[in-house]
């Protein structure tokens, strides 16, 4: 029972949020911000696996997000909607979207994980600055490839994902998107927490601390890197798929280095190697972005400035390698760790 306490608390919060959404107690704008928070939690925590736990410097996370966003959108549009680009809905009617939407997201995650190989494989041979440049290159490759495929809108992108959401709402009218965001964000955090908490996953931290010792003292570093990069990019892909359906419109310009930087800021703000830090900073950062919206482009002066200040005065981030339960031991009740 105690073991499931955190899960029960999380489910209760989810239920509360869903009821609030269902009853429209919050205006549409705040609802969308809350959905972005969930998506950003997935993005920052998955990037933390690489930049925080593994100690690599990946600065192309938005590339994986793009792969997921396009895969999920294309699948859903193609399967469930009739539009000018994709023609009549294929095979099956819109009503199946309720069941198949999460499946398309998982497929999107798989595709993003496959593109993650573009970084994982080079990481066997190189690291540090060189790998950072490779991640940057992958971000550009993804963005430019999409720009050059006119069938999916090229640089203009495409819209219509709202229809997918409408299709689901026509079956049962509940806040589907928020439900799936809560489900996938929760699952991602649990998966990441369990992974880095297992001796197997701690191989990732061993690589950060001393890769040579890891390699020689029995860690199959290539496999561990492969898993870490694919897990990380896979979660980013799912987040991308959700993102596309929240804003209802995607174009390659959304997934540039700018977006990657945003995710990186969240990781460094929250603290490297701290999942609760990533969650906390995703909430703070998303809300802050909204408050800074009136500044328009000036927010892109302010945010990097914030990053500079952070690196100067608190380089370890808000949490810095600790989890919330380390800072507030009382919380251990909710996150019991297994002792052997």
């Amino acid at each position: 029972m105690r073991h499931y306490l955190s899960l029960i608390v999380y489910l209760a919060i989810c239920l509360l949020i869903i009821v609030i959404f269902q009853q429209n107690w919050l205006n549409a704008y705040i609802q969308i911000v809350m959905m972005f928070i969930g998506i950003n939690i997935m993005l920052s925590s998955s990037l933390n696996l690489i930049n925080g736990y593994m100690g690599e410097f990946s600065c192309g996370h938005a590339g994986f997000m793009a792969v997921g966003a396009y895969t999920a959108s294309l699948l859903n549009m193609g399967l469930f909607t009739t539009s000018s680009i994709f023609g009549r809905s294929l095979f099956i009617g819109p009503q199946y979207s309720v069941f198949l939407f999460p499946v398309t997201l998982i497929i999107a995650g798989f595709c993003a994980a496959l593109v993650g190989l573009l970084v994982a494989v080079p990481s066997f041979r190189t690291r540090g600055d060189y790998l950072a440049i490779i991640t940057l290159a992958v971000n550009y490759i993804v963005k430019s490839s999409i720009e050059n495929i006119q069938e999916i809108g090229g640089a203009r992108g495409f819209m219509g994902m709202r229809q997918v959401v409408n299709a689901m709402n026509n079956v049962i009218n509940i806040p589907w998107l928020m439900i799936w965001i809560l489900a996938f964000a929760g699952t991602s955090i649990i998966a990441l927490k369990r992974f880095v908490g297992s001796t197997y996953g701690k191989g990732v931290i061993a690589i950060r601390d001393d890769e040579i010792a890891a390699e020689i003292m029995s860690v199959n570093t290539q496999r561990v890197k492969l898993i870490a990069f694919m897990l990380s990019s896979g979660i980013a892909g799912i987040a991308g798929g959700l993102f596309a359906h929240v804003i209802g419109y995607i174009n390659p310009g959304t997934f540039t280095i700018m977006k990657s930087t945003e995710i990186m800021v969240m990781v460094y703000l929250g603290g490297m190697g701290s999942l609760s830090g990533s969650v906390l900073s995703a909430v703070l950062f998303t809300v802050m972005l909204e408050f800074l919206r009136p500044l328009q482009l000036f927010k892109w002066v302010l945010i990097p400035l914030l990053l500079i200040i952070l690196m100067l005065f608190r380089p370890e981030g808000l949490m810095g390698n600790r989890e919330l339960s380390d800072v507030f031991p009382g919380l251990r009740r909710f996150f019991p760790s297994k002792e052997y």
Binding site: Y200, D209, D210, E215, I216, M217, S218, N220, T221, Y340
Partner: protein
């Protein structure tokens, strides 16, 4: 049947030949030393044996099977463990975690088991922790289980590093200058420790050492290396009086006998 055989090993770093026609056979149960002046190529030989470098020429047989095409973690999984000249622990994790991670090679579950928290996962995790605790207890390190290695005194860090190597269940243990940087009382305890683990875990030990006290009191056979080449081999007392060895050491400014001790 020899445990380890190095056959005609040559190793180059670019134009520099670090190992020159190196031949050595180690029988099970031996405790053999590798000595030589700084830069002689001793660590390079350990790196070759543990699979970190591939020899430019030659072959290495462990249990009569060639291991030069294996990755380091595969070599380790055959029962060949080592320590490093400069202690290399994973310092952001506790001693216990360090001794668990070194059992990675026989982690009987996949990452999916970890994510889904399956029964297999919990069983193996339990076994891994149990093994680590057993080693810590036998080395009288239980108290340090929750500490971070870098916060421990130097002598204990060495002990922990040897403990980590023992979690591998090695049949051959390579120790690269285990006494480096230790004070005399630490050194005495280290000598005791090495003798004890050798019997307790039925180990064959190959060690590199500059401290003559360690070498003379432990090793049954010595191999002297200079410029990547064996210049003498034999019992410690023979080696002590071998003129070539004395010359090699005296030729190297800081490495004459007095400075070493």
């Amino acid at each position: 049947m020899p445990l380890l055989e190095l056959k005609q090993i040559n190793h180059f770093f670019g134009g520099l030949q670090a190992v020159h026609n190196f031949n050595l056979t180690i029988e099970p149960g031996e405790l053999i030393g590798l000595i030589g002046p700084n830069g002689a190529g001793k660590t390079t030989i350990f790196n070759l044996v543990s699979g970190f470098y591939k020899p430019t020429q030659g072959d290495i047989l462990f249990h009569e099977k060639s291991i030069i095409h294996l990755k380091p973690h595969q070599v380790t999984s055959l029962g060949l463990a080592r320590t490093f000249q400069n202690i290399r622990m994973w310092n952001s994790m506790t001693v216990l975690e360090n001794l668990c991670i070194s059992q990675h090679y026989r982690m009987g579950y996949s990452f999916m088991d970890a994510i889904f928290s399956t029964k297999t996962y919990h069983e193996h995790e339990k076994a891994v922790v149990k093994r680590a605790m057993e080693i810590l207890e036998s080395l009288e390190l239980s108290e340090a289980a929750g500490e971070y290695p870098k916060n421990l005194p130097y002598g204990l860090q060495r002990r922990v590093e040897i403990g980590r190597a023992l979690t591998i269940k090695p049949s051959l243990l390579l120790l690269d200058e285990p006494a480096a940087g230790m004070n005399p009382s630490d050194i005495d305890r280290l000598i005791e420790l090495i003798q004890w683990i050798r019997e307790q875990f039925h180990l064959t030990i190959w060690l590199i050492e500059h401290q003559m006290k360690v070498v003379m009191s432990l090793c049954e056979r010595l191999c002297v290396l200079d410029f990547g080449q064996i210049i003498a081999e034999g019992s410690p007392s023979d080696i002590k009086n071998n003129p070539r060895v004395i010359k090699a050491y005296l030729g190297d400014e800081e490495a004459d006998d007095d400075a070493e001790n």
